[in-house]
Every structure is written in structure tokens, then in C-alpha cells.
């Protein structure tokens, strides 16, 4: 049977959006020495069946989108980070220790369905 293909405009398709985390907004600037903030980014957008192949999608997303096209009660595949990278943070604790740590999965580099 022919599967109806929902239309999605390009700007609504799953892609990476800029999100700057400013530690001052969180009140964390009082103990984080550096960085002052970082570009964490986020993923948002539609994952329509017609484009799951081209949107850096997993096989699972393809199957879910296929099922969603057949049965609209199945939720649409979601737009999520597919590649993340770390950041380093210099901060101070309550014992006056200066600490340098590296945290994985803090920055979204790529998104996919």
C-alpha cells in the first residue's frame, strides 16, 4: 500500500541548534573559574519517514518512522544528539582546592533521528 508522506519544511527538520550555556545564568560563575560558559547546542526538529535516510538516522528511527506512517498512533522518531564531545572545567571547591576535570558528552556536535 502507498504510504502517505507527511510534508516537512526544511527549517523544521531535525538539526543542531545553538545553545550557549552561560554559567552566570545558573549562578555557577561563583565557583567555576573557566570557562565562563560553552556552546552546548541542542537537537530539535522533525524526523519524517521520507527523510529518515538522509537525516543521519539510525535503523531503529527508520523502522519507527515507517511504523508511524502506517499507524499514526506510533510516535514519530525523535531528533537526538548523535555525536557529543567533552569540555574541561576549572573550578574551586569549598576547601579552596582548584580542580581541573574533563567531562564527556557536554557538547552536541551532530544530531540525528
Amino acid at each position: 500500500a502507498a504510504i502517505p508522506v507527511p510534508k516537512a519544511s526544511c527549517k523544521n527538520l531535525c538539526h543542531r541548534h545553538q545553545l550557549f550555556i552561560n554559567f552566570r545564568d545558573l549562578g555557577w560563575h561563583k565557583w567555576i573559574i573557566a570557562p565562563k560558559g560553552f556552546m552546548a547546542n541542542y537537537c530539535h526538529g522533525d524526523c519524517p519517514f521520507s527523510l529518515t535516510v538522509s537525516l543521519n538516522s539510525s535503523n531503529y528511527a527508520f523502522m519507527q518512522a515507517l511504523m508511524q506512517a502506517v499507524d499514526p498512533e506510533t510516535p514519530q522518531a525523535v531528533c537526538i544528539p548523535s555525536k557529543l564531545s567533552p569540555i574541561s572545567m576549572l573550578y574551586q571547591d569549598n576547601n579552596d582546592n582548584v580542580i581541573l576535570r574533563h567531562y564527556e558528552d557536554m557538547v552536541v556536535d551532530e544530531c540525528g533521528c
Binding site: 545558573l26 549562578g27 555557577w28 561563583k30 565557583w31 573559574i33 573557566a34 570557562p35 564531545s85 567533552p86 569540555i87 574541561s88 572545567m89 576549572l90 573550578y91 574551586q92 571547591d93 569549598n94 576547601n95 579552596d96 582546592n97 582548584v98 580542580i99 581541573l100 576535570r101 574533563h102 567531562y103 564527556e104 557538547v107
Partner: protein, 234 residues
């Protein structure tokens, strides 16, 4: 309710950072050069997309993913009767290792002593630095170093500028048995060199040295939860 939810989420994330609550330091401590350099190197690598092993500190040549710079919390000693007649400076060095969590493995503990930029010229060449491990408890303020209570670790003739001491074994012992952490005893001795022709004023020079002396402990640890030995880099 929203505020409580935000606080709860923040608490969970702070635990991920190994913090019980958001710190509230009164003032920022100076960031040592080595930490600044490692931070900048990692930032540059992240910007250019270079793959990094976050569990190896190449600048120090050790495995580890947490670097802590612990300030000295000890104090100067002014004995009524000097330990030795030539004693220029006596200080108890104390480092609080309680921030290190149980699952962290110590891979580096480096004591840094900065005598100041002009120590050599102020004190002349006849200077000797001695570092001891304090092995028995003592009453603060009434510390009198006696043989048997302290264990000689290292002696440095003609010290100047910045000195580094490997204290990994000592720090491991302190970390495993916090009740054994009585600190270190530092003594700087001066031999007056009358033949050098230098107009030497030991009291002034020692006062200046007390002002310029700066001690710290750089500790690197490896958290096995975050650094798996079998994990291969893609």
C-alpha cells in the same frame, strides 16, 4: 514546586561533578600555570576536533582525569629555642585530601615549593632545605620536632626558585589512612658565609623568605567509573 525541581536536578548534576552542593568560595584562588596550560590545550584540541584521551595527562605523563591543586593549610613555627642555631625557617605543611573520593586512584602527588624569585641572592649559596614526614600527632602551636616523631624525606642543598617533590607514596598512605596525615615539617637552614664578602643579614633574608614561600600539592587521580582500562578509543 518548579524551584524545588530545578534544585533537585541541579543536585543530581552536582553529584556527577563529585560535589555535594554548589561551592561558595569566598575568593578565587590563583590558578597554577600547569592547570591553566592543560585547560587551554584541551580547549584548543576540542575546537579543532582533535580526539583526546581524557584519562591521560600527557603534560605530566600520568593517567588520570581529575587534577587538584591543594593549598597548604599549615603554619609557620617560631620555636623559642631554635631547632638548630642556623635555622632560618620552620613550617608545618598540611594538605587536606578529604576531597578525594574512595573510587579515585592516586596517580601523582607533587609537592611544589616556591621560595620566591630572589631566594638565592637574598640568602646566599649556603642554604639547605630539609623536608620531613611528621609521624606522630602533636598539639597545634606547641610542635617541637624531635627525632622519632619526624622522618627525613629529602634534603636539598642550595635550593632556589621552584622545587618539586614526588610524594605519591606519602599521599597514598594519607589517603588510605587519613588519621596518619600529620603533615610535613619543612626547615630551611642557612650557613653564614663570612668568607664570601657578601653583606649577609640572615634575619632580614629569612623574613623575606617566609613572606615569599608558597607551598602546594598537585594531585592527579583516576576515577575508574569514568576511565575504563578496557575501553578502546574509536
Amino acid at each position: 514546586a518548579l524551584g524545588q525541581a530545578v534544585q533537585f536536578q541541579e543536585y543530581v548534576f552536582l553529584q556527577f561533578l563529585d560535589l555535594d552542593k554548589a561551592p561558595s568560595p569566598q575568593k578565587f584562588q590563583p590558578v597554577p600555570y600547569i592547570l591553566k596550560k592543560i585547560f587551554q590545550d584541551r580547549e584548543a584540541a576540542a575546537t579543532t576536533g582533535v580526539s583526546q584521551d581524557l584519562c591521560y595527562v600527557k603534560e605530566l605523563g600520568v593517567r588520570g582525569n581529575v587534577l587538584r591543586f591543594l593549598p597548604d593549610q599549615g603554619f609557620f613555627l617560631y620555636p623559642k629555642k631554635p631547632f638548630q642555631a642556623s635555622s632560618c625557617l620552620q613550617k608545618l605543611l598540611y594538605f587536606n585530601l578529604s576531597a578525594i573520593k574512595e573510587r579515585e586512584q592516586l596517580t601523582l602527588a607533587q609537592l611544589g615549593l616556591d621560595l620566591g624569585p630572589s631566594s638565592y641572592y637574598n640568602l646566599g649559596p649556603e642554604l639547605e632545605l630539609a623536608l620531613f614526614l611528621v609521624q606522630e600527632p602533636h598539639v597545634w602551636g606547641q610542635f617541637t620536632p624531635k627525632p622519632g616523631k619526624i622522618f627525613a624525606l629529602q634534603s636539598v642543598p642550595w635550593p632556589q626558585g621552584a622545587l618539586r617533590f614526588n610524594l605519591l607514596d606519602v599521599a597514598k598512605d594519607w589517603n588510605d589512612n587519613p588519621q596518619k596525615n600529620f603533615g610535613l615539617f619543612l626547615e630551611i637552614l642557612v650557613k653564614e658565609d663570612r668568607d664570601s664578602g657578601v653583606n649577609f643579614q640572615p634575619e632580614d633574608a629569612c623574613t623575606r623568605l617566609r613572606r615569599s614561600l608558597h607551598a602546594s600539592l598537585l594531585v592527579v587521580t583516576l576515577n575508574s567509573d569514568q576511565c575504563h582500562p578496557s575501553r578502546k578509543r574509536r
